[in-house]
Symmetry: C2
Subunit: 380 residues, 2 copies
């Protein structure tokens, strides 16, 4: 851990924690939600809107960026922050998860993973060393180790093999990352599927290796929410209190509240933007599917009290019309609405934890979702 | 013409004119360029960016809006200004042009035009009376008469028949529009194809009928630029000096400069947004096709001196990457760049006309386009 990268735990409230991660590109207040900038762009949303939503850190996808335009080109253009003009913190994943889920002809060995590029068919090797090198070229503030993520349900033998391979890769990543610029950090990733024993073994070995932060990977990959939360509950106590904990690829607003209660500090998910593009708005009143016909003549905004201009300024009827007409602006506006919603949820959680009332905050938030203001009074 | 709608001619410079149109929703400085909000949305661009570009008036497409979500629904939701949250002036076309170009099974008679909706297959009748009624329901500040537009080249007999039908429709539209709310105006449309005699006949008859503004329609429909400019040159002298002149569906930056020199005050075109979505940026240095490979490593912005943040803040390499990766943000950013460019071109023209140096302004502007700053020095 460099001198400049640090995590300061400001307050705890039950299992929930609030604090701040300091990086060379700025401070990230936790619990934090990271919008996903897959190809150096938050899909359909201008960076200024992402920033206005309150996002303090983005996630960049190493897999996509190494294939196009390539890590070397981004480095030559000044690194990912300069390239995409996001001067704030960036976390990059290792590329491993997307290799497993997207790349054709992938082959995993002790050395690393070999796959064909979905862009031009080239054969690419991604070793733990190369995964760190690519993320260094991108200039990420937080670099993730290469790991092997097993989709659930899976055989215990497969889960254990992948978990142990990920631990060996973690050591190789740490060696490669040594001497990286100050203010940057490499996180280890806990694997072990839905097996608590394997999870504990993974967490303890990673802690022995020693990282400035720890992720919980291999969840939200097909298992029920209660399984995910059980694993989170059993894993976070095995992680150091003074290091940030990042639950990868999660999730719904309810997932976030439950995971914060179990001691998670960081999240990423495509849900706000992907669901937004498909017409689903997250609001204080719960999700609203704007494509439903009963919005067609509804002059009300999504939420007149929202901090988000798109949620206040446009009627549900207009947003409905944009989706029915195939106008891309609809997806953009709902993505912005959702990014604001997720950031406001995190800000609310941080304030509630600091005030020692996180459980009440979570209960109140969920109670509001249950009120069906999706429909106007008098409508069925 | 209502009391509130007015056109004030501030200055002339040769054939070029600058002035201001006052409507119930605000003032439009001329020469003016109207971005096209086909389906109550400027494709891919947030209204705030459209406004920031300097646009004072939008064009809405009656054909699209009457089919979806319907003029009656928009009226029930407060009219188009409220529906789309654009509180500034709006001009709507009559729907005629798009019926001719988009609708299946269209049939033109003295009564009007009958066609099938491309949305749900319903048979729709659009008469001159209904075209005005729809635009009244939408609440447009400037309403266009229904006309028949003939694609060029065409037989003189066809052009003459359509022109004369358009004149009869003009009278019916005027009768229907009488008593409309103050601050709104109905424009007549000069037709006559590429035939100067028919154009003059159309213009003179329309002036006899009497409108607060006149459009030149049926151009930019397949004829060479010199034919279009010749017709414009021969038509504008037949129109009253004290009424705004609107050249429909035009055009390139060069088309605009040439037409302004010939006395045109208003334009609309999808070119800034459509070309933007396809990777073509209009800049002071001429058009730049950002998809070309030589931009892939170019760290320069499109124009560091632009008033448009998107033209200043993002590198050509990044914009190129967005297009190569299929990220919608690329089309959005280039659309914004182009909307700013068009508005800045109009603002420059207005200032130059007021200063009596429009010819120099046009010559200087075109001379800069010829400088090939599309490529870096040393590149072929």
């Amino acid at each position: 851990m460099s001198e400049l990268f640090s995590f300061h735990l400001a307050a705890s409230d039950g299992g929930a924690r609030t604090g701040a991660i300091t990086t060379a590109h700025g401070v990230v207040h936790t619990p934090a939600f990271m919008p996903v900038g897959t190809q150096a762009s938050i899909k359909g949303v201008h960076h200024d809107d992402v920033r206005a939503s309150g996002a303090e850190i983005l996630l960049g996808n190493t897999y996509h960026l190494m294939l196009r335009p390539s890590a070397e080109r981004i480095a030559a253009l000044g690194g990912l922050h300069t390239f995409m003009r996001w001067p704030y913190p960036i976390l990059t994943d290792s590329g491993g998860f997307q290799v497993m889920s997207l790349a054709p002809l992938r082959k995993i060995s002790e050395t690393g993973v070999t796959f064909r590029s979905h862009v031009d068919g080239a054969v690419i090797e991604l070793s733990p060393e190369r995964a760190v090198e690519v993320q260094n070229l991108l200039g990420a503030d937080i670099v993730m180790q290469l790991d092997e993520c097993v989709r659930l349900p899976a055989e215990r033998g497969d889960i254990e093999r992948a978990m142990k391979l990920s631990l060996r890769w973690a050591e190789r990543c740490k060696r490669t990352f040594e001497g990286a610029a100050p203010g940057r950090a490499l996180f280890g990733i806990v694997q072990g599927g839905d097996d608590p024993v394997l999870r504990l073994q993974s967490a303890r070995t990673l802690v022995d290796i020693g990282f400035p932060g720890y992720a919980i990977g291999g969840l939200a990959v097909g298992e029920p929410q209660e399984v995910m939360l059980k694993i989170v509950s059993e894993t976070t106590p095995a992680l150091p209190v003074d290091r940030p904990r990042y639950l990868m690829g999660v999730g719904t607003p309810a997932d976030l509240l439950e995971s914060i209660a179990r001691g998670v500090d960081m999240f990423d998910c495509v849900m706000p933007t992907r669901n937004g593009r498909h017409g689903l708005a997250f609001t204080r009143f719960g999700p609203i599917n704007i494509k439903n016909a009963h919005h067609a003549e509804d002059p009300r905004p999504l939420d007149p009290q929202s901090r988000c201009p798109a949620a206040r300024d446009f009627s549900r009827a207009y947003l409905h019309h944009l989706f029915r007409s195939g106008e891309a602006l609809g997806g953009t506006l709902l993505s912005i609405v959702n990014l604001f919603y997720y950031q406001d949820l995190m800000a609310g959680a941080r304030a509630a934890i600091a005030a020692g009332r996180f459980a009440d905050f979570a209960a109140e938030t969920k109670a509001r979702w249950a009120v069906k203001s999706d429909r106007r009074s008098g409508e069925s």
